[in-house]
Symmetry: D3
Subunit: 131 residues, 6 copies
Amino acid sequence: MATLGLIEYADASPEVRAVYDDIMATRRTDWINNFWKALAHDPATLRRTWESIKQIMGPGALDPLTKEMIYLAVSTSNQCSYCIASHTAAARKAGMTDTMLAELMAVVGMANETNRLSAGYQVEIDEKFKK
Amino acid sequence: MATLGLIEYADASPEVRAVYDDIMATRRTDWINNFWKALAHDPATLRRTWESIKQIMGPGALDPLTKEMIYLAVSTSNQCSYCIASHTAAARKAGMTDTMLAELMAVVGMANETNRLSAGYQVEIDEKFKK
Amino acid sequence: MATLGLIEYADASPEVRAVYDDIMATRRTDWINNFWKALAHDPATLRRTWESIKQIMGPGALDPLTKEMIYLAVSTSNQCSYCIASHTAAARKAGMTDTMLAELMAVVGMANETNRLSAGYQVEIDEKFKK
Amino acid sequence: MATLGLIEYADASPEVRAVYDDIMATRRTDWINNFWKALAHDPATLRRTWESIKQIMGPGALDPLTKEMIYLAVSTSNQCSYCIASHTAAARKAGMTDTMLAELMAVVGMANETNRLSAGYQVEIDEKFKK
Amino acid sequence: MATLGLIEYADASPEVRAVYDDIMATRRTDWINNFWKALAHDPATLRRTWESIKQIMGPGALDPLTKEMIYLAVSTSNQCSYCIASHTAAARKAGMTDTMLAELMAVVGMANETNRLSAGYQVEIDEKFKK
Amino acid sequence: MATLGLIEYADASPEVRAVYDDIMATRRTDWINNFWKALAHDPATLRRTWESIKQIMGPGALDPLTKEMIYLAVSTSNQCSYCIASHTAAARKAGMTDTMLAELMAVVGMANETNRLSAGYQVEIDEKFKK
């Protein structure tokens, strides 16, 4: 159970409902996932977190699918089970196929391996990389 | 200094040179970065690591630029200084602009934040995400 | 299930019971949580871990509530589900309100974000901070 | 060197200067540390990150010193060298003494130890903690 | 549920079956654990991962038991619940006793503690260690 | 520079000297590495940390070399530069050869890779592993 419980739409304050409404409108969906319902106990954090994600994940130099895959890659590397579940769903909705998911996971695994090899062998950064 | 030192091409065994040659040919470059020179003390790991990266990072359902950006995102999340330096260079070579780098970093930062919020609030995974 | 099982008070050796007794007396409680019952298979580690925690978490320049919140912040950052559950309870017992918990989580999330931004942008430490 | 370089006040756009000015006013200081100068290449992230930190670290149910110490604890647990350096300075400015720093570090170390012991022994969460 | 589901032997392609057969033969067992069944959706990653593990975990300068214990130690430090469960089983099969497991966990816990103390106190590396 | 500076033997209190003396006697060496000199500002933590390490790293069901290698493996996985440097030296002193170091690093890298693959594919723990 979430530490402070989950706040459903019906029980939410107008301030929280406004965020929920914006999430649903932005994501073209009619439900709110538990993450937001748990955060809703702290309306300032709910709003700030949502506004930040909305700004960051919107279209830019990187397309939304690439951003969602980066989000999933980081969540996987951090082994965050909630985030892996929710961002796998989000990335699929943005267009990630099963083959893309598998390639993404291979890259994440490999990066974690070589991160430790470079640390463990105490490899100094090449001068060429310092510019 | 790298724990076991760095093996330069001139001092490398034929087995190691064969890997160095393949790295340079595949990457269309004429130099070898320190990571490989440090690994070269263990030719089996040198070969296996290179063959794995070559297989994983090649073209597939994800293009090489996306793969490089995922690699950089994971290395950043893991705060691996060598890998951040080397994969920033690699991603740029594959086409990452400064604007794309900035957007990538924003996503990595945000994912690290919400990973902890979901863990800290002990949010249970939504049933919809379990399928 | 805990790897080695849980040792209940009734089944515990005198050596283990002595630690259990001290935990209950120090914490003014009449039960032992699973962490200690799992560690009890290694009485030396049980004792050393308990003695260390007792020494560290006692009153000092930092009050017990602040210490418990730092413990919870670290456990959250590490995404340790057992520790988040147990230290949320401990911090509440020490006086943490829901509002304090929410503020704590906001700080933990933000720190995790900026930790990666500073690493990802390869920011060098300011001279002023080196003294 | 920071990947994109550092943007000094004299070279900053009005948008970036506005953030720098607010940082200096809020912190009652006359200089900007490298973190912000590196982020300034992405004014949207600069502003969002600063606004978030300003909101989160301001007075609330937790006093600014406690928040700074939690920030330092998380940065230490994540072994982020830049953040440890900058938030040690910030926490000291907020009132952290050397004795408090030492107690903080002891708690961070202990939490990291028991986080792994609970994971390694596969300890199940007590029913009492699930409410 | 695994994201892409689990591929049982009866439903596997010849390519996947060949890997499954080699796993069972190498490990002298008649079943395949879920990790491989989940990876089997990406036969290239299945094969590469298995070939790598087979090469790395085989006898060398380190005996298989020591290698399994190092694998378990890393998985514990990373708090990977699947890997802790599977590598506890593997290490036991290789000869790890309960006492050895307890000593291993004590080392993992201690290393995680001192890793943070050295980072938090910003300890510079001794010249003697740089050679 | 270490946050609180380093306390040399000549400047140490009798309480700190007693720990330094025990470290040198136990390790059959005539110098103290920076980690302890940094911790010495907090004599209680200095003593507790040393007593814990002495107890944990001494001979038991696991020999000192295996324990040192596990310590190095964890420090590498955590990418703690100070600890990698110091425990590489300690493991070598205990008998680790360059070949053993290379095999250790290969295991650490591989474990970090499969830890993320199992998390990313959301692999459920096999029933056989739950006993």
